[in-house]
Amino acid sequence: MRALLACVLIFLAPLARAEDVVLGLSQKSVSITTNFDGSEILIFGAVKRDAAIPVGPPLEVIITVAGPAQPLTVRRKERRFGIWVNTDEIEVDSAPAFYAIASSAPFSEALSDTEDLRHQVSISRAIRSVGAPMQVENAAAFVSAVIRIRKENGLYQLRENSIEVTEQTLFKTSIAMPANLTEGAYDTRIFLTRGGEVVSKFDTVIEVRKVGLERFLYNLSRQQPLVYGLLSLAIAIFAGWGASAAFRIFQRS
């Protein structure tokens, strides 16, 4: 066993960077069941290195978990004829349905702005918005509204200093996922940084999917909408008949 491990290490050694991530997840997938009420994923790992810990600024860790990207329409209300109605709208080309950042230090210390631009780590960089119509003033306000609303819903999270790093080698954190999750592949990225520069990067995927009854009903409603609609009606009519029948028996006794 030890020989095998040594072999693997020898193979990997020429490819490996000076510091590399070995990752563990408490769960590889999140199942949305009928009683799904959010989920907490524990992410832990170690830094593998061939040499001694380099001198200089300490090792920092940044972890991001991003839900599937969706195009959005953001609308702003304005007062018209005394009531509040949606007036201006812009399209956001792509925004993740969920985005959490955890870092072992304040974000701006853990990652320089240049590196943030390169890897698109911060929340505002994870949202892509190009085609704002000219007649809408202040399109940036729409994007910050998306961030604000989703932060309130727990869908976007920036949790600085939430990763524990021990001896510049072991790290762990947990990411809380709210109940109103969208299905899909959640890209999980781990960055190791020193002095704001990314020294190593590791990607993995957490699958979030509906299972069981939830999966069945959702698929049925999308693939066989007519059957789904008729089934809903059948249940309704049966329940209506059942209630009246049950009540008649109840009244007689």
């Binding site: 009683n35 009531i83 949606n86 509204a145 008729l230 009606l233």
Partner: protein, 306 residues
């Protein structure tokens, strides 16, 4: 106990839904209304997306109307012929309503339309009912003779396409019932209500139907219109949430039976004035939402329909 709704994609407390179904059921049993006009706004308040609330509520009304119509069929208080004529209009109206609903959804104004419809119709119906029942109570106290019902339907009696409706004892043109049907059908699709609270007064005051067949006939046609609306929403918008519907149904049918028993013990005027107040409260809350500056001016929707 939290339940994740597969279509609405939100997690809500199952007991809150059962309770809501139960409370609205009690009220609908007491007052003899479908309760859709109360349930749909309540679903908005607990955070169900409006499109899902409207479509799912249509499905729930099928159940409560079916339960009600069975009792009326037994008492022979359903005018099937009039119901069918109303239904022709109702189905046309429901189809128009869903088209309008989807068009406004694309414009991002569906929320506004649904809320405006609610404020206007709840305000008018609640206000009229309140004034009418206040007068009724005053008359009862003064022991005055009830006012004579006007049987004048001048222009309506001149329309062509006359039909005989035996159960209602009417010989009138088919045009007014079809128009009433279209109108209620549109409302059913947009507001997620059966439309009983508009249909019943329309049948009495516009068509001149006898009161005893009005509720049964209205329920009869509501079943088909809401069933049709449910199917249209299910196939075009995918917004019918079966889990939500079942939870509301269970609470609703139990509540309705309890409500019917409470209702028997109360006086008709008292019942009507309570119902009117309740309608006005819901209307007021929705109107305030439109008039006051909202806490969050921005809203997020998925691009491309749904």
């Amino acid at each position: 106990m939290m339940i994740y709704l597969p279509i609405a994609e939100v997690s809500v407390n199952a007991f809150v839904l059962l309770g809501l179904g139960g409370i609205v059921g009690v009220l609908s049993g007491m007052f003899g209304v479908g309760g859709g006009f109360l349930m749909t706004p309540l679903l908005f308040f607990i955070g169900i997306p409006p499109a899902v609330a409207v479509a799912t509520e249509a499905n729930q009304i099928v159940a409560s109307s079916f339960s009600g119509v069975l009792a009326h069929l037994k008492r022979k208080t359903v005018d099937l012929k009039m119901g069918s004529v109303l239904l022709v209009g109702g189905l046309t109206g429901a189809a128009l309503g869903v088209v309008l609903f989807n068009y406004l959804k694309a414009l991002g104004q569906v929320d506004l339309l649904v809320r405006l419809c609610y404020v206007v119709f709840l305000g008018v119906v609640g206000g009229l009912m309140f004034i009418e029942s206040l007068n009724a109570i005053r008359r009862a106290k003064g022991n005055a003779a009830p006012p004579k019902r006007r049987r004048q339907r001048g222009w309506i009696s001149k329309l062509p396409l006359k039909m005989r409706f035996h159960t209602s004892g009417l010989y009138i043109s088919a045009i007014p019932p079809v128009i009433v049907g279209v109108f209620v059908g549109i409302l059913a699709a947009i507001m997620g209500v059966g439309g009983g609270f508009i249909m019943v007064p329309a049948m009495i005051y516009i068509l001149g139907m006898p009161t005893k067949v009005v509720v049964g006939t209205s329920l009869f046609q509501i079943i088909f219109v809401t069933a049709f609306t449910t199917l249209l929403h299910a196939t075009t918008n995918y917004t019918v949430d079966m889990v939500l519907a079942v939870l509301l149904l269970v609470g609703g049918v139990i509540g309705a039976q309890i409500g019917a028993r409470i209702g028997v013990k109360m006086k008709a005027e008292q019942l009507r004035i309570l119902l009117a107040l309740m309608v006005l409260v819901v209307c007021g809350k929705l109107a305030l939402d439109l008039l006051l500056q909202p806490g969050e001016l921005y809203s997020i929707g998925l691009a491309g329909g749904h």
